[in-house]
Subunit: 719 residues, 2 copies
């Protein structure tokens, strides 16, 4: 597929099917855009009714084109598209862009048409972009293959937009900001080509590219920006993204965080949003930055295109105004960065070069009457300071302020130092004159200092991820996830599935837990009071009595649990109580109900450990505070499997429950290692036995000696 | 003071002390700004060395001015300011602006100078703005009394900025956006005039102003924007703001949310930040919107200046692009708004007027090829729809898009309907042409739809507050906070304070609680095992044993509490245990330690109730989850006193603990009314006895019958 994508993005010849002399038709606009953009390859308009279009020879039929074009762009009414693509395939062209709308996005009829189109593309092994897309731009080929305004500034960024409209806005905005791109692809309905094929192609390309970024003295990267309303294949996307992100930053705006947006999407593109929290977690693990708004997506485009990520988190703020500097200090902390502490050397030098009333602590206030020379002196000192990893330069247009000259000073200094400098020249007309200069020097600038800092924070997050990812790779190679010799369970659970069972019984769960070395409290099914008393004698009070049945997922809701049974007398009362409650249950459930006794685990912290299979990202591990706290504190921490022992430690440490586990009354040490072991074993269990929709252990009680799986539920997947 | 402020803002004559012929001096710039702005009053330059300055007669001494100017503006070196202001006062001028810097902001010497300046201003009863400020603008007087770029567009907004630099940025930005102001005041060091005097003045003014806003058919308001680094007097500010906000929206950017910003402020203006969470709560109660960033402050300025607040929270999104509409749906929910549900009538009309492929659900997608007429039809239907309270119009510049024409259509329609319309024309050069048109029609526009929606959300928040505030007023008048006849405690606690005591003893706290009808579990100090056993016999097991002493604030930390004492045998063991621990305590503490017994309250939810005196906002009530949960779930809910019974209900309902209180195991109803009573009584206690720095009851255990104050601590204030 990669060679076809190469033909698509770098064609030596292009046919435009549906090229037209009518300036309002897409086929005309696309043809003109390609020609006017300066594309140097051969160009073949196809139209049965014309012989010349904008000075080019037109062909009445695709078959008549005197060569096999590398790329065909189709801009004809939807009804004729399938047939046209078949002809293109027959001729031998392997890359097609279908601009025409009228497919999946219009409903059932269109969806059928799209299925046919897909089939034809597969039959002829065609890499097909669209339908219902705006086309693409490749600035290195001077190729504007869109019916949009185009975008011909060269830059280092790739961009993928599922929405043509968002692309139009980015074109207009990028033109204004003088921001360039390597290529810009609009996906449309993704009938065959999705974000994944392009990521794969760029991954291959990036392996060849070892250009050095001269300013930052490290290998150059090509950031990848994305606007996606749906992921075509979550697992593949994450896998590719993780590889790409080790060299190149990726960021994505993926709406659908709220129910309202999910509803809007369904009525718009038919994309069904996956579980959004899982998506966020998967992106985070893969090193992908998730933009929260269109604004942030624009900000990250500027930041990653024009600057490398900082090497550390210490930021200095340089400003001619105290107010914005104070506001920025808030933003620095909120972005996960730190205010750089200046060395006494740097402070002394600043004192020597700045007026007495200036502030030499960070933020550095060069005062309202600062001319460009004062900015220059201070900035140079900060660029040379070891304790400063990045600098935010703030300027407010005051009476004496030399706006453009200061911008020039910043731009020139930036070229000589390998440290990110972000600017915020705050205001309107006056400030924008400075921004125009900054743009020339490729200094990222932002209307507000908070936005500069937020972008810097995301860059730093990616840098940290990149460093950890390198280590992580080794972890995966040297310490594989726990292996297992418990495959004999495969057969027994397969049988249950074939019988149509949905849940595992308590005894089956306990059997699995035993074999996976997941500790459960002593427990037994009892059928008589004598049995019960004997069990209590053996293990000692207090005891817990439960009604269990595979269908009773939330036992407390049916009052099927009695805890704190502390004597034989209480035991007798409790079992009578439960037996009478049993009769209140629906008949279908009642027949499977058993009376279960369990030694009560005291003096521990309740947590919840679960695994859940998701459609988009495979199995996800969940950890949090358990027992009655579950709903109160919304302590849901996720990790997409596989998980290393380090990952397991981290999911526990980032939970709110962790402060309970470490701050247990009296400062007693709890058996955290046992908890980690239990989690690792559960992950292993669902890896070896890939049959579960969900297993939840709630609570796991962690005491000073052990982590007990007190209550487990297992729901089988539907196959 | 109000008449002096009127003289300041609307002077019939102005003297500029330090007026100069040197175009680079502040005294020259200010004089020119006033003259060039078109000020129509009399203008007197004062300079000992000149006779004419920019064509005006100059006076060698203030005393020689042929009348008593309403306003004097001082722009001379700091060393001479005090003397100059004395002369001004002697002449009889009551309003002075000191532009000169070199006061508190420069350190100790400057602070002394400022103290002198303050004394002179007080002596002559002068309303003094500054020092170290940029001056002010009053557009209705065509008066630009700043040394800045000025700002002469008339508008309906008041603005106060403590920072001159932020003011400069706002001037530049507002010029660019064609946003006007009524007046714009920079406060500088606030030697005498602070935000409060201006709020008071505007409050009086607003009482006179009953102009009708024709477009929105409700009385016009004047929004007040503020950038403040410190509050001069928190209680007064909140009191004034609450009154103003009932008619006029207020918003404030007050940095200092994080420790880093507090540090930056201290090195910059010497303002000490109060407890930021209390500030946020106080602002919220007073109906003041707290902007989180400079960007949001700008956004709110546009929104409140050009639009009234929506009458409901239902928003329709109208877009020529699906992508941004989806993103907006997320933003709507996050802003506390709702996606409007369209009636079937509206939907039918939309279907009749829009192409088949358009989306008639909200968001309404008029498709990428929409011309201005399609926007017009859809917008008109939405303006007429009863279920829509506000509309966000999104436009992306696509091939056929009529950007300016669409803006004109929106502007014209807006004039005919009383519904807020917010626009986001996304892009760069192309989009900005549309923005220029929108600006002419005073339609708030934003670069990104998310920002439009966030601003709309804040407006809706204020509208809700305003409605509730009207009700609240009546509540205050008819149901006063619980009165009390417990004044006899005043004397006894006063005595303790005079003795230098810092904490109340358990017995004293219990005595207060008894008198205020705050229920505590049965408890007693015991000195012998027999006494203990008798107490247990009287009240029944389980029991809690504690070591108490006023100094032992956190008993669990010294293992001074044993719970779950369930038999005489355990009681004996527990008391021996505690007696032995007592010997481990420091001698000074040990002598006050007592052994306390308390009936253990079982089957309840632990919460924490506290009151705390703050320097800036008086006494604050705190409520949240208690016991071991306190630190885990950070459930800190605040309310600045006074509190009505409704406020008390609300602070409980908004807490995370509320779900524990209502979702208690088995769905048992807990005694919430008793909890509300306990909180009200505690509020009353600290109102009647204003001697406490802090009283904390942790835990209060709420059972199905009662709310028990299990453990109370009271720290006396320092006087």
């Amino acid at each position: 597929m990669n060679t076809h994508i190469q033909q698509l993005l770098k064609p030596r010849s292009i046919a435009v099917v549906g090229a037209s002399t009518d300036r309002h038709k897409l086929g005309n606009i696309v043809l003109r855009n390609i020609k006017d953009g300066g594309y140097s390859g051969r160009l073949f308009p196809v139209n049965p009714h014309e012989t010349k279009i904008i000075g080019l020879n037109a062909y009445s039929n695709y078959i008549h084109i005197p060569e096999i074009p590398d790329l065909a762009i189709v801009a004809i009414p939807a009804d004729f598209v399938v047939e046209a693509v078949r002809e293109i395939g027959q001729k031998g062209t392997k890359a097609v862009v279908v601009i025409s709308a009228g497919f999946k996005e219009t409903g059932r009829e269109g969806a059928l048409r799209e299925a046919e189109l897909q089939a034809v593309a597969n039959e002829y092994d065609i890499a097909l972009l669209g339908p219902n897309c705006l086309g693409f731009v490749n600035t290195r080929q001077k190729l504007n293959a869109t019916f949009g305004q185009g975008l011909m500034h060269k830059g280092n960024m790739h961009f993928i937009s599922q929405s043509g409209a968002i692309a139009s806005s980015i074109f207009d905005w990028a033109e204004h900001a003088s921001l360039g791109f390597k290529d810009f692809i609009t996906l449309g309905n993704k009938a065959t080509l999705s974000e994944n094929e392009f990521l794969e192609y760029w991954l291959q390309e990036q392996a060849k590219d070892t250009t050095l970024n001269k300013r930052f003295n490290e290998s150059s990267y090509s950031p990848i920006g994305m606007y996606l309303e749906s992921l075509t294949d979550g697992t593949t996307f994450i896998e590719l993204a993780r590889k790409v992100a080790q060299t190149n930053p990726l960021f994505v705006l993926k709406p659908g965080r709220t129910k309202a947006a999910q509803k809007a999407m369904q009525s718009h593109t038919g994309s069904i949003a996956g579980d959004d929290a899982v998506l966020s977690q998967a992106l985070e693990q893969a090193g992908v930055i998730r933009a929260k708004s269109i604004e942030e997506m624009f900000d990250l485009s500027i930041a990653f295109s024009w600057s490398q990520a900082p090497q550390g988190k210490n930021v200095a703020i340089l400003s001619n105004a105290g107010g914005p500097a104070v506001v920025s200090s808030d933003a620095i902390v909120e972005a996960g960065l730190s205010m750089a502490t200046l060395s006494s050397d740097t402070k002394e030098l600043l004192e020597a070069h700045l007026p007495r009333a200036a502030s030499f602590l960070n933020p550095i206030d060069v005062l309202g009457d600062a001319l460009s020379d004062r900015y220059e002196k201070a900035l140079r000192l900060l660029l040379e300071a070891d304790t400063v990893d990045a600098i935010v330069v703030i300027l407010t247009p005051q009476v004496m302020t030399e706006i453009e000259k200061t911008a020039t000073v910043v731009g020139r200094l930036a070229q000589r130092y390998q440290k990110p400098i972000f600017c915020s020249f705050m205001g309107g007309h006056l400030a924008s004159k400075g921004e125009a200069v900054l743009s020339k020097y490729n200094i990222p600038y932002f209307s507000y200092p908070e936005r500069a800092i937020a972008a810097l924070g995301k860059m730093w997050w990616w840098r940290k991820w990149q460093t950890q990812a390198k280590k992580r790779k080794e972890v995966f190679e040297t310490t594989p996830v726990a292996t297992s010799t418990r495959e004999h369970h495969l057969e027994s659970i397969r049988k249950l599935l074939i019988q149509g069972q949905q849940y595992l019984s308590v005894s089956k769960i306990n059997e699995l837990f035993d074999d996976w070395d997941i500790t459960t409290p002593p427990s037994a099914s009892v059928t008589s009071l004598d049995q019960a008393k004997n069990f209590a004698k053996l293990h000692g009070f207090p005891m817990v009595l439960k009604l269990t049945a595979p269908e009773l997922l939330h036992k407390t809701e049916v009052s099927g649990v009695i805890t704190n049974v502390r004597s034989s007398k209480q035991l007798e009362a409790a079992s009578q109580e439960l037996i009478s409650r049993k009769t209140e249950l629906p008949v279908a459930v009642r027949k499977n109900v058993k009376l279960q006794m369990q030694a009560q685990i005291e003096h521990g912290v309740e947590v919840i450990v679960g695994v859940k299979r998701t459609a988009q990202f495979g199995t996800v591990l969940m950890f949090g505070a358990g027992g009655t706290l579950v709903e109160l504190i919304s302590d849901t921490n996720l990790h997409v499997l596989p998980a290393t022992s380090e990952d397991i430690k981290q999911i526990v440490e980032k939970s709110k429950a962790f402060s309970l586990l470490t701050g247990y009354r009296g400062g007693q040490q709890l058996a955290l290692e046992k908890l980690y072991h239990l989690i690792a074993q559960l992950c292993d269990l669902v890896t070896v036995l890939p049959f579960f929709a969900e297993i939840e252990i709630n609570p796991v009680i962690v005491t000073k000696d052990q982590a007990y799986a007190v209550d487990g539920k297992a729901i089988l997947a539907e196959f």
